[in-house]
Amino acid sequence: MHTLYRLTATESKLFLREPPAVFFALAFPPLLLVILGLVPAFREPSADLAGLRNIDLYAPIVITMAIATLSLSSLPQLFATYREKGILRRMATTPVRPAMLLGGQLAMCVWMSVAALVAVLAVGRLAFDIALPGNVPAYALAYLLSLLSMLTLGLLVASLAPSGRGAGAIGTLLFFIMLFLAGLWLPRAGMPDWLLRISDFSPLGAGVQSLSDAAAGHWPQLLHVAVMLGWTLVAGGLAARYFRWE
Protein backbone atom coordinates (compact mmCIF):
# COMPACT_ATOMS: atom_id res chain seq x y z
CA MET A 1 0.00 0.00 0.00
CA HIS A 2 2.84 2.29 0.94
CA THR A 3 4.56 1.62 -2.40
CA LEU A 4 1.38 2.33 -4.37
CA TYR A 5 0.82 5.54 -2.42
CA ARG A 6 4.41 6.67 -3.08
CA LEU A 7 4.20 5.83 -6.77
CA THR A 8 0.90 7.67 -7.13
CA ALA A 9 2.09 10.69 -5.16
CA THR A 10 5.36 10.91 -7.09
CA GLU A 11 3.68 10.53 -10.48
CA SER A 12 1.09 13.16 -9.57
CA LYS A 13 3.77 15.65 -8.55
CA LEU A 14 5.73 14.98 -11.74
CA PHE A 15 2.57 15.41 -13.83
CA LEU A 16 1.77 18.73 -12.18
CA ARG A 17 5.29 19.96 -13.03
CA GLU A 18 4.48 19.83 -16.76
CA PRO A 19 2.37 22.95 -17.47
CA PRO A 20 1.29 21.99 -21.03
CA ALA A 21 0.09 18.55 -19.90
CA VAL A 22 -1.77 20.09 -16.97
CA PHE A 23 -3.40 22.67 -19.24
CA PHE A 24 -4.68 20.16 -21.78
CA ALA A 25 -5.82 17.59 -19.25
CA LEU A 26 -7.28 19.79 -16.55
CA ALA A 27 -7.94 23.33 -17.81
CA PHE A 28 -8.84 22.82 -21.46
CA PRO A 29 -12.02 20.73 -21.01
CA PRO A 30 -13.86 23.29 -18.83
CA LEU A 31 -12.49 26.04 -21.08
CA LEU A 32 -13.90 24.32 -24.16
CA LEU A 33 -17.28 24.05 -22.45
CA VAL A 34 -17.16 27.80 -21.78
CA ILE A 35 -16.26 28.53 -25.42
CA LEU A 36 -19.12 26.35 -26.69
CA GLY A 37 -21.46 27.96 -24.17
CA LEU A 38 -20.62 31.41 -25.50
CA VAL A 39 -22.28 30.49 -28.81
CA PRO A 40 -25.88 31.74 -28.32
CA ALA A 41 -27.41 28.94 -30.45
CA PHE A 42 -25.87 26.35 -28.13
CA ARG A 43 -27.90 27.74 -25.24
CA GLU A 44 -31.30 27.52 -27.04
CA PRO A 45 -33.53 24.52 -26.28
CA SER A 46 -34.06 22.52 -29.45
CA ALA A 47 -37.15 20.60 -30.45
CA ASP A 48 -34.91 18.06 -32.24
CA LEU A 49 -33.21 17.29 -28.94
CA ALA A 50 -36.40 16.81 -26.94
CA GLY A 51 -36.09 20.22 -25.37
CA LEU A 52 -32.39 19.88 -24.46
CA ARG A 53 -29.79 22.45 -25.44
CA ASN A 54 -26.67 21.72 -27.45
CA ILE A 55 -24.58 22.67 -24.44
CA ASP A 56 -26.29 19.93 -22.42
CA LEU A 57 -25.34 17.48 -25.11
CA TYR A 58 -21.74 18.62 -25.08
CA ALA A 59 -21.11 18.36 -21.33
CA PRO A 60 -20.53 14.56 -21.40
CA ILE A 61 -18.56 14.88 -24.64
CA VAL A 62 -16.18 17.39 -23.03
CA ILE A 63 -15.86 15.08 -20.03
CA THR A 64 -14.88 12.18 -22.25
CA MET A 65 -12.41 14.48 -24.00
CA ALA A 66 -10.65 14.99 -20.66
CA ILE A 67 -10.57 11.21 -20.24
CA ALA A 68 -9.17 10.78 -23.77
CA THR A 69 -6.45 13.40 -23.23
CA LEU A 70 -5.13 11.66 -20.13
CA SER A 71 -5.56 8.14 -21.48
CA LEU A 72 -4.28 8.52 -25.02
CA SER A 73 -1.89 11.44 -24.75
CA SER A 74 -0.47 11.73 -21.22
CA LEU A 75 -0.34 8.07 -20.20
CA PRO A 76 1.20 6.39 -23.27
CA GLN A 77 3.79 9.12 -23.76
CA LEU A 78 4.72 9.07 -20.11
CA PHE A 79 5.10 5.32 -20.13
CA ALA A 80 6.94 5.01 -23.42
CA THR A 81 9.30 7.79 -22.37
CA TYR A 82 9.96 6.01 -19.10
CA ARG A 83 10.89 2.92 -21.07
CA GLU A 84 12.97 4.83 -23.59
CA LYS A 85 14.96 6.68 -20.95
CA GLY A 86 15.62 3.54 -18.90
CA ILE A 87 13.52 4.71 -15.96
CA LEU A 88 11.69 1.38 -16.15
CA ARG A 89 14.98 -0.45 -16.55
CA ARG A 90 16.18 0.95 -13.27
CA MET A 91 12.92 0.02 -11.58
CA ALA A 92 13.22 -3.50 -12.98
CA THR A 93 16.23 -4.04 -10.69
CA THR A 94 14.13 -3.23 -7.61
CA PRO A 95 11.45 -5.39 -5.96
CA VAL A 96 8.64 -3.21 -7.37
CA ARG A 97 6.27 -5.24 -9.55
CA PRO A 98 4.99 -4.12 -12.95
CA ALA A 99 1.40 -4.27 -11.69
CA MET A 100 2.28 -1.88 -8.89
CA LEU A 101 3.99 0.48 -11.29
CA LEU A 102 1.02 0.43 -13.68
CA GLY A 103 -1.30 0.84 -10.69
CA GLY A 104 0.52 3.99 -9.62
CA GLN A 105 0.28 5.54 -13.07
CA LEU A 106 -3.38 4.59 -13.42
CA ALA A 107 -4.18 5.98 -9.98
CA MET A 108 -2.53 9.26 -10.96
CA CYS A 109 -4.61 9.41 -14.16
CA VAL A 110 -7.83 8.57 -12.32
CA TRP A 111 -7.22 11.28 -9.82
CA MET A 112 -6.36 13.91 -12.45
CA SER A 113 -9.32 12.87 -14.55
CA VAL A 114 -11.73 13.18 -11.62
CA ALA A 115 -10.35 16.68 -11.04
CA ALA A 116 -11.20 17.54 -14.67
CA LEU A 117 -14.67 15.99 -14.24
CA VAL A 118 -15.39 18.11 -11.17
CA ALA A 119 -14.17 21.23 -12.99
CA VAL A 120 -16.42 20.57 -16.01
CA LEU A 121 -19.48 19.76 -13.86
CA ALA A 122 -18.91 22.87 -11.73
CA VAL A 123 -18.42 25.20 -14.71
CA GLY A 124 -21.42 23.65 -16.47
CA ARG A 125 -23.64 24.07 -13.43
CA LEU A 126 -22.51 27.58 -12.49
CA ALA A 127 -22.11 29.16 -15.92
CA PHE A 128 -24.71 27.42 -18.06
CA ASP A 129 -27.13 25.91 -15.58
CA ILE A 130 -26.43 22.38 -16.79
CA ALA A 131 -28.17 20.01 -14.39
CA LEU A 132 -25.93 17.90 -12.15
CA PRO A 133 -26.21 14.13 -12.75
CA GLY A 134 -29.71 12.90 -11.92
CA ASN A 135 -28.61 9.38 -11.01
CA VAL A 136 -25.32 9.71 -9.15
CA PRO A 137 -24.46 5.99 -8.73
CA ALA A 138 -25.25 5.37 -12.40
CA TYR A 139 -23.19 8.38 -13.38
CA ALA A 140 -20.24 7.20 -11.26
CA LEU A 141 -20.49 3.74 -12.83
CA ALA A 142 -20.63 5.15 -16.38
CA TYR A 143 -17.72 7.45 -15.65
CA LEU A 144 -15.58 4.75 -14.07
CA LEU A 145 -16.19 2.33 -16.95
CA SER A 146 -15.38 4.96 -19.60
CA LEU A 147 -12.22 5.87 -17.75
CA LEU A 148 -11.08 2.28 -17.27
CA SER A 149 -11.71 1.29 -20.88
CA MET A 150 -9.74 4.30 -22.11
CA LEU A 151 -6.87 3.99 -19.63
CA THR A 152 -6.33 0.35 -20.49
CA LEU A 153 -6.38 1.31 -24.17
CA GLY A 154 -3.72 3.92 -23.36
CA LEU A 155 -1.64 1.30 -21.56
CA LEU A 156 -1.94 -0.97 -24.57
CA VAL A 157 -0.61 1.82 -26.80
CA ALA A 158 2.22 2.31 -24.29
CA SER A 159 3.06 -1.40 -24.31
CA LEU A 160 3.03 -1.75 -28.09
CA ALA A 161 4.57 1.56 -29.19
CA PRO A 162 8.23 1.28 -30.13
CA SER A 163 9.17 4.70 -28.73
CA GLY A 164 7.89 7.77 -26.90
CA ARG A 165 7.39 9.52 -30.21
CA GLY A 166 5.59 6.51 -31.65
CA ALA A 167 3.34 6.36 -28.60
CA GLY A 168 2.53 10.04 -29.11
CA ALA A 169 1.62 9.49 -32.77
CA ILE A 170 -0.52 6.39 -32.21
CA GLY A 171 -2.15 8.01 -29.18
CA THR A 172 -3.02 11.16 -31.14
CA LEU A 173 -4.54 9.17 -34.00
CA LEU A 174 -6.69 7.14 -31.58
CA PHE A 175 -7.55 10.33 -29.70
CA PHE A 176 -9.23 11.83 -32.76
CA ILE A 177 -10.97 8.60 -33.77
CA MET A 178 -12.31 8.06 -30.26
CA LEU A 179 -13.52 11.65 -29.91
CA PHE A 180 -15.10 11.57 -33.36
CA LEU A 181 -17.07 8.49 -32.32
CA ALA A 182 -17.88 10.19 -29.00
CA GLY A 183 -19.54 12.94 -31.03
CA LEU A 184 -17.15 15.88 -30.56
CA TRP A 185 -17.68 17.04 -34.17
CA LEU A 186 -21.06 15.47 -34.76
CA PRO A 187 -23.00 14.60 -31.59
CA ARG A 188 -24.58 11.16 -31.51
CA ALA A 189 -28.03 12.70 -31.80
CA GLY A 190 -27.10 13.83 -35.31
CA MET A 191 -25.23 10.70 -36.44
CA PRO A 192 -26.65 8.52 -39.24
CA ASP A 193 -27.67 5.05 -38.05
CA TRP A 194 -24.63 3.24 -39.36
CA LEU A 195 -22.26 5.67 -37.63
CA LEU A 196 -24.27 5.51 -34.42
CA ARG A 197 -23.86 1.74 -34.50
CA ILE A 198 -20.08 2.04 -34.77
CA SER A 199 -20.11 4.67 -32.04
CA ASP A 200 -22.08 2.29 -29.77
CA PHE A 201 -19.21 -0.16 -29.91
CA SER A 202 -16.43 2.35 -29.22
CA PRO A 203 -15.41 3.04 -25.61
CA LEU A 204 -16.21 6.75 -25.68
CA GLY A 205 -19.35 6.38 -27.81
CA ALA A 206 -20.65 3.99 -25.20
CA GLY A 207 -19.24 6.30 -22.53
CA VAL A 208 -20.93 9.48 -23.74
CA GLN A 209 -24.29 7.73 -24.09
CA SER A 210 -23.99 6.17 -20.63
CA LEU A 211 -23.08 9.52 -19.07
CA SER A 212 -26.01 11.20 -20.86
CA ASP A 213 -28.37 8.47 -19.71
CA ALA A 214 -27.16 8.75 -16.12
CA ALA A 215 -27.31 12.57 -16.24
CA ALA A 216 -30.97 12.23 -17.24
CA GLY A 217 -31.54 9.96 -14.25
CA HIS A 218 -31.47 6.58 -16.02
CA TRP A 219 -29.10 3.64 -15.81
CA PRO A 220 -26.70 3.01 -18.73
CA GLN A 221 -27.83 0.54 -21.38
CA LEU A 222 -26.55 -2.99 -20.95
CA LEU A 223 -24.93 -2.87 -24.41
CA HIS A 224 -22.81 0.13 -23.46
CA VAL A 225 -21.77 -1.33 -20.11
CA ALA A 226 -20.76 -4.52 -21.90
CA VAL A 227 -18.83 -2.58 -24.57
CA MET A 228 -16.83 -0.64 -22.00
CA LEU A 229 -16.14 -3.72 -19.89
CA GLY A 230 -15.10 -5.61 -23.01
CA TRP A 231 -12.60 -2.93 -24.03
CA THR A 232 -11.21 -2.82 -20.50
CA LEU A 233 -10.67 -6.57 -20.34
CA VAL A 234 -9.24 -6.98 -23.83
CA ALA A 235 -7.00 -3.90 -23.82
CA GLY A 236 -5.92 -4.49 -20.22
CA GLY A 237 -5.11 -8.14 -20.88
CA LEU A 238 -3.12 -7.33 -24.00
CA ALA A 239 -1.30 -4.47 -22.25
CA ALA A 240 -0.21 -6.80 -19.45
CA ARG A 241 0.75 -9.45 -22.02
CA TYR A 242 2.96 -7.06 -24.00
CA PHE A 243 4.39 -5.13 -21.06
CA ARG A 244 8.15 -4.60 -21.42
CA TRP A 245 10.61 -3.02 -19.02
CA GLU A 246 12.89 -2.06 -21.91
Partner: protein, 302 residues
Protein backbone atom coordinates in the same frame (compact mmCIF):
# COMPACT_ATOMS: atom_id res chain seq x y z
CA UNK B 1 30.83 -19.91 0.43
CA UNK B 2 30.58 -17.62 -2.59
CA UNK B 3 27.84 -14.98 -2.59
CA UNK B 4 27.72 -14.83 -6.40
CA UNK B 5 28.33 -17.97 -8.46
CA UNK B 6 28.34 -17.87 -12.24
CA UNK B 7 28.88 -21.21 -13.96
CA UNK B 8 29.28 -21.66 -17.70
CA UNK B 9 27.10 -18.64 -18.52
CA UNK B 10 26.09 -18.42 -22.18
CA UNK B 11 24.00 -15.65 -23.75
CA UNK B 12 23.18 -15.27 -27.44
CA UNK B 13 21.53 -12.41 -29.29
CA UNK B 14 20.27 -13.50 -32.66
CA UNK B 15 22.93 -15.85 -33.94
CA UNK B 16 25.70 -14.15 -32.06
CA UNK B 17 27.15 -15.49 -28.82
CA UNK B 18 27.92 -12.43 -26.70
CA UNK B 19 28.75 -14.33 -23.51
CA UNK B 20 30.47 -17.65 -24.03
CA UNK B 21 31.03 -20.03 -21.12
CA UNK B 22 31.87 -17.46 -18.44
CA UNK B 23 32.39 -18.71 -14.87
CA UNK B 24 33.46 -16.92 -11.72
CA UNK B 25 32.66 -16.82 -8.01
CA UNK B 26 32.55 -13.72 -5.82
CA UNK B 27 33.26 -14.03 -2.10
CA UNK B 28 31.29 -12.03 0.48
CA UNK B 29 32.83 -8.63 1.17
CA UNK B 30 34.87 -8.53 -2.01
CA UNK B 31 35.08 -5.81 -4.60
CA UNK B 32 35.05 -8.01 -7.66
CA UNK B 33 35.80 -6.42 -11.01
CA UNK B 34 34.55 -7.44 -14.44
CA UNK B 35 37.05 -5.88 -16.79
CA UNK B 36 37.05 -5.80 -20.56
CA UNK B 37 36.77 -3.54 -23.60
CA UNK B 38 33.42 -2.11 -24.73
CA UNK B 39 31.28 -4.82 -26.27
CA UNK B 40 33.09 -7.65 -24.49
CA UNK B 41 29.89 -8.92 -22.85
CA UNK B 42 30.45 -7.43 -19.40
CA UNK B 43 27.10 -5.68 -19.16
CA UNK B 44 25.22 -8.69 -20.51
CA UNK B 45 26.92 -10.82 -17.87
CA UNK B 46 25.84 -8.61 -14.98
CA UNK B 47 22.36 -8.19 -16.48
CA UNK B 48 22.02 -11.96 -16.20
CA UNK B 49 23.29 -11.81 -12.59
CA UNK B 50 20.72 -9.12 -11.76
CA UNK B 51 17.97 -11.14 -13.47
CA UNK B 52 17.17 -8.71 -16.30
CA UNK B 53 18.25 -11.23 -18.97
CA UNK B 54 17.53 -14.92 -19.31
CA UNK B 55 20.74 -16.89 -19.88
CA UNK B 56 20.85 -19.36 -22.79
CA UNK B 57 23.10 -21.68 -20.81
CA UNK B 58 24.86 -22.14 -17.50
CA UNK B 59 23.70 -21.31 -14.01
CA UNK B 60 23.77 -18.30 -11.71
CA UNK B 61 23.24 -18.10 -7.96
CA UNK B 62 23.22 -14.92 -5.93
CA UNK B 63 22.95 -15.51 -2.18
CA UNK B 64 21.80 -18.99 -3.20
CA UNK B 65 18.94 -17.62 -5.34
CA UNK B 66 18.54 -18.29 -9.07
CA UNK B 67 17.74 -14.87 -10.59
CA UNK B 68 15.44 -16.53 -13.14
CA UNK B 69 13.26 -18.03 -10.41
CA UNK B 70 13.29 -15.07 -8.11
CA UNK B 71 10.03 -14.23 -6.41
CA UNK B 72 11.26 -10.83 -5.29
CA UNK B 73 13.66 -12.03 -2.61
CA UNK B 74 16.80 -11.51 -4.70
CA UNK B 75 15.85 -7.94 -5.59
CA UNK B 76 15.46 -7.23 -1.88
CA UNK B 77 19.06 -8.30 -1.37
CA UNK B 78 20.70 -6.92 -4.48
CA UNK B 79 21.02 -3.29 -5.50
CA UNK B 80 22.01 -2.34 -9.03
CA UNK B 81 23.21 0.73 -10.82
CA UNK B 82 23.12 -0.08 -14.52
CA UNK B 83 23.97 1.87 -17.62
CA UNK B 84 21.20 3.52 -19.59
CA UNK B 85 18.98 3.66 -16.56
CA UNK B 86 17.69 7.03 -15.62
CA UNK B 87 15.25 9.00 -13.51
CA UNK B 88 12.49 11.40 -14.56
CA UNK B 89 13.98 14.87 -15.26
CA UNK B 90 11.86 16.71 -12.77
CA UNK B 91 11.96 14.31 -9.84
CA UNK B 92 13.62 15.79 -6.77
CA UNK B 93 16.39 13.89 -5.01
CA UNK B 94 14.23 13.54 -1.90
CA UNK B 95 11.30 12.21 -3.93
CA UNK B 96 13.47 9.63 -5.67
CA UNK B 97 14.89 8.44 -2.36
CA UNK B 98 11.45 8.24 -0.73
CA UNK B 99 10.02 6.41 -3.73
CA UNK B 100 12.81 3.83 -3.94
CA UNK B 101 12.78 3.39 -0.15
CA UNK B 102 9.13 2.37 -0.41
CA UNK B 103 10.08 -0.56 -2.69
CA UNK B 104 12.11 -2.34 0.01
CA UNK B 105 11.31 -4.36 3.11
CA UNK B 106 14.10 -2.84 5.20
CA UNK B 107 15.15 0.45 3.59
CA UNK B 108 18.20 2.34 4.80
CA UNK B 109 17.87 5.80 6.33
CA UNK B 110 18.03 7.72 3.04
CA UNK B 111 18.98 11.01 4.67
CA UNK B 112 22.09 9.38 6.12
CA UNK B 113 22.83 7.79 2.78
CA UNK B 114 22.65 11.18 1.06
CA UNK B 115 24.91 12.63 3.75
CA UNK B 116 27.50 9.89 3.18
CA UNK B 117 27.33 10.54 -0.56
CA UNK B 118 27.63 14.29 -0.11
CA UNK B 119 24.21 15.06 -1.58
CA UNK B 120 22.50 16.53 1.48
CA UNK B 121 22.41 20.05 0.04
CA UNK B 122 20.86 18.67 -3.17
CA UNK B 123 17.89 17.04 -1.39
CA UNK B 124 15.35 19.43 -2.94
CA UNK B 125 17.07 19.65 -6.34
CA UNK B 126 15.51 18.18 -9.47
CA UNK B 127 17.39 15.33 -11.15
CA UNK B 128 17.97 17.29 -14.38
CA UNK B 129 19.80 20.02 -12.44
CA UNK B 130 22.41 17.64 -10.96
CA UNK B 131 25.93 17.40 -12.39
CA UNK B 132 27.18 14.15 -13.90
CA UNK B 133 29.00 13.24 -10.69
CA UNK B 134 25.97 14.05 -8.54
CA UNK B 135 23.73 11.93 -10.77
CA UNK B 136 26.12 9.02 -10.40
CA UNK B 137 26.21 9.42 -6.63
CA UNK B 138 22.41 9.52 -6.52
CA UNK B 139 22.44 6.41 -8.64
CA UNK B 140 24.66 4.69 -6.08
CA UNK B 141 22.40 5.92 -3.28
CA UNK B 142 19.39 4.35 -5.01
CA UNK B 143 21.29 1.08 -5.46
CA UNK B 144 22.06 1.06 -1.72
CA UNK B 145 18.75 2.27 -0.30
CA UNK B 146 17.42 -1.28 0.10
CA UNK B 147 20.39 -2.19 2.35
CA UNK B 148 21.58 -4.83 -0.14
CA UNK B 149 24.08 -7.61 0.47
CA UNK B 150 25.35 -7.21 -3.06
CA UNK B 151 25.70 -4.03 -5.11
CA UNK B 152 26.19 -4.24 -8.87
CA UNK B 153 27.76 -1.10 -10.29
CA UNK B 154 28.12 -0.88 -14.07
CA UNK B 155 30.56 1.64 -15.60
CA UNK B 156 30.15 3.82 -12.59
CA UNK B 157 32.69 6.48 -13.43
CA UNK B 158 32.31 6.73 -17.20
CA UNK B 159 31.86 10.36 -18.15
CA UNK B 160 33.11 11.72 -14.84
CA UNK B 161 36.01 14.12 -14.53
CA UNK B 162 39.15 12.76 -12.80
CA UNK B 163 38.37 14.36 -9.44
CA UNK B 164 34.80 13.04 -9.38
CA UNK B 165 36.13 9.65 -10.41
CA UNK B 166 38.58 9.54 -7.49
CA UNK B 167 35.86 10.67 -5.07
CA UNK B 168 33.63 7.88 -6.36
CA UNK B 169 36.38 5.32 -5.83
CA UNK B 170 36.77 6.37 -2.21
CA UNK B 171 33.07 6.02 -1.81
CA UNK B 172 33.06 2.48 -3.14
CA UNK B 173 35.76 1.57 -0.63
CA UNK B 174 33.66 3.08 2.16
CA UNK B 175 30.66 1.04 1.03
CA UNK B 176 32.67 -2.15 1.01
CA UNK B 177 33.87 -1.32 4.53
CA UNK B 178 30.22 -1.64 5.63
CA UNK B 179 30.21 -5.26 4.46
CA UNK B 180 28.50 -4.92 1.08
CA UNK B 181 29.85 -7.18 -1.66
CA UNK B 182 30.47 -5.19 -4.82
CA UNK B 183 30.39 -6.41 -8.41
CA UNK B 184 32.02 -3.65 -10.42
CA UNK B 185 31.94 -3.52 -14.21
CA UNK B 186 34.56 -1.31 -15.78
CA UNK B 187 36.75 -0.74 -18.80
CA UNK B 188 39.12 1.52 -16.86
CA UNK B 189 42.36 -0.22 -15.95
CA UNK B 190 43.22 2.29 -13.29
CA UNK B 191 39.83 1.81 -11.66
CA UNK B 192 40.12 -1.98 -11.65
CA UNK B 193 43.67 -1.87 -10.31
CA UNK B 194 42.86 0.63 -7.61
CA UNK B 195 39.57 -0.81 -6.33
CA UNK B 196 39.24 -4.49 -7.03
CA UNK B 197 40.30 -7.37 -4.82
CA UNK B 198 39.94 -9.68 -7.78
CA UNK B 199 39.21 -9.17 -11.45
CA UNK B 200 37.59 -11.29 -14.14
CA UNK B 201 39.02 -10.27 -17.50
CA UNK B 202 36.50 -10.73 -20.31
CA UNK B 203 37.23 -10.32 -23.98
CA UNK B 204 34.89 -11.04 -26.89
CA UNK B 205 32.46 -12.84 -24.57
CA UNK B 206 35.05 -15.20 -23.13
CA UNK B 207 36.62 -15.27 -19.69
CA UNK B 208 40.35 -14.74 -20.14
CA UNK B 209 41.55 -14.79 -16.54
CA UNK B 210 40.40 -14.36 -12.93
CA UNK B 211 42.95 -13.15 -10.41
CA UNK B 212 44.02 -10.32 -8.13
CA UNK B 213 45.39 -7.28 -9.98
CA UNK B 214 48.90 -8.20 -8.78
CA UNK B 215 48.33 -11.82 -9.73
CA UNK B 216 47.27 -10.86 -13.25
CA UNK B 217 50.37 -8.75 -13.67
CA UNK B 218 52.70 -11.44 -12.36
CA UNK B 219 51.28 -14.26 -14.49
CA UNK B 220 52.16 -12.19 -17.51
CA UNK B 221 55.60 -11.01 -16.64
CA UNK B 222 57.53 -9.93 -13.60
CA UNK B 223 60.18 -8.14 -15.58
CA UNK B 224 61.23 -4.76 -14.24
CA UNK B 225 63.11 -2.07 -16.02
CA UNK B 226 65.40 0.53 -14.41
CA UNK B 227 66.55 3.64 -16.22
CA UNK B 228 69.20 6.01 -14.89
CA UNK B 229 72.07 8.26 -15.89
CA UNK B 230 75.33 7.18 -14.17
CA UNK B 231 77.40 10.04 -12.74
CA UNK B 232 80.61 8.37 -13.96
CA UNK B 233 81.42 5.87 -16.70
CA UNK B 234 80.39 2.38 -15.70
CA UNK B 235 81.49 -1.01 -17.00
CA UNK B 236 78.34 -2.85 -18.03
CA UNK B 237 79.89 -6.17 -17.03
CA UNK B 238 79.59 -5.15 -13.37
CA UNK B 239 75.82 -5.13 -13.82
CA UNK B 240 75.41 -8.15 -16.08
CA UNK B 241 77.33 -10.18 -13.48
CA UNK B 242 74.39 -9.73 -11.07
CA UNK B 243 72.01 -12.72 -10.97
CA UNK B 244 68.98 -10.37 -10.98
CA UNK B 245 70.02 -8.67 -14.21
CA UNK B 246 69.03 -10.11 -17.57
CA UNK B 247 70.12 -7.30 -19.85
CA UNK B 248 71.76 -3.89 -20.06
CA UNK B 249 71.26 -1.40 -22.86
CA UNK B 250 72.54 2.06 -23.53
CA UNK B 251 70.13 4.75 -24.61
CA UNK B 252 72.15 7.87 -25.14
CA UNK B 253 73.63 8.77 -21.80
CA UNK B 254 71.14 6.56 -20.03
CA UNK B 255 71.45 2.94 -19.02
CA UNK B 256 68.42 0.65 -19.19
CA UNK B 257 68.75 -2.40 -16.96
CA UNK B 258 66.17 -5.17 -17.19
CA UNK B 259 65.81 -8.03 -14.78
CA UNK B 260 63.69 -9.74 -12.14
CA UNK B 261 63.45 -10.15 -8.38
CA UNK B 262 64.93 -7.46 -6.19
CA UNK B 263 66.53 -5.74 -9.14
CA UNK B 264 66.53 -2.21 -7.80
CA UNK B 265 68.33 -3.16 -4.60
CA UNK B 266 70.95 -5.22 -6.43
CA UNK B 267 71.74 -2.44 -8.91
CA UNK B 268 71.85 0.42 -6.39
CA UNK B 269 74.13 -1.61 -4.10
CA UNK B 270 76.65 -2.11 -6.87
CA UNK B 271 76.50 1.57 -7.81
CA UNK B 272 77.03 2.61 -4.18
CA UNK B 273 80.08 0.38 -3.92
CA UNK B 274 81.50 1.99 -7.08
CA UNK B 275 80.56 5.42 -5.67
CA UNK B 276 78.46 6.18 -8.71
CA UNK B 277 75.28 8.24 -8.35
CA UNK B 278 72.27 7.17 -10.41
CA UNK B 279 70.65 10.37 -11.67
CA UNK B 280 67.07 10.50 -13.02
CA UNK B 281 66.43 7.00 -11.69
CA UNK B 282 63.13 5.47 -12.80
CA UNK B 283 61.71 2.02 -12.17
CA UNK B 284 59.18 0.73 -14.69
CA UNK B 285 57.04 -2.25 -13.75
CA UNK B 286 54.58 -4.28 -15.74
CA UNK B 287 51.14 -2.74 -15.29
CA UNK B 288 47.67 -4.18 -15.56
CA UNK B 289 47.62 -2.53 -18.98
CA UNK B 290 50.56 -4.69 -20.07
CA UNK B 291 48.88 -7.70 -18.53
CA UNK B 292 45.72 -7.00 -20.49
CA UNK B 293 47.62 -6.72 -23.74
CA UNK B 294 49.41 -9.98 -23.01
CA UNK B 295 46.16 -11.76 -22.13
CA UNK B 296 44.00 -10.54 -24.99
CA UNK B 297 46.49 -9.46 -27.62
CA UNK B 298 45.23 -5.88 -27.73
CA UNK B 299 44.88 -2.71 -25.74
CA UNK B 300 41.64 -2.20 -23.86
CA UNK B 301 40.62 1.15 -25.25
CA UNK B 302 40.60 0.31 -28.91
Amino acid sequence: MAIIEVNGLVKRYGGQTVVDDVSFAVEPGEIFGVLGPNGAGKTTTVECVVGLRRPDGGSIRVSGIDPQHDTGELKQRLGAQLQESDLPDKIKVREAMELYSSFYRAPADWRRLLAVLGLTDKTETQFRRLSGGQKQRLSIALALVGTPEVAVLDELTTGLDPQARRDTWELIEDIRATGVTILLVTHFMEEAERLCDRIAVIDAGRLVAVDTPAGLVSTVDDTQRIRFRPSAPLDEAVLTALPEVSGVERAGRQLVVTGTGNLLHAVTSVLARKQIVAADLRVEQTTLDDAFVALTGRKIDN
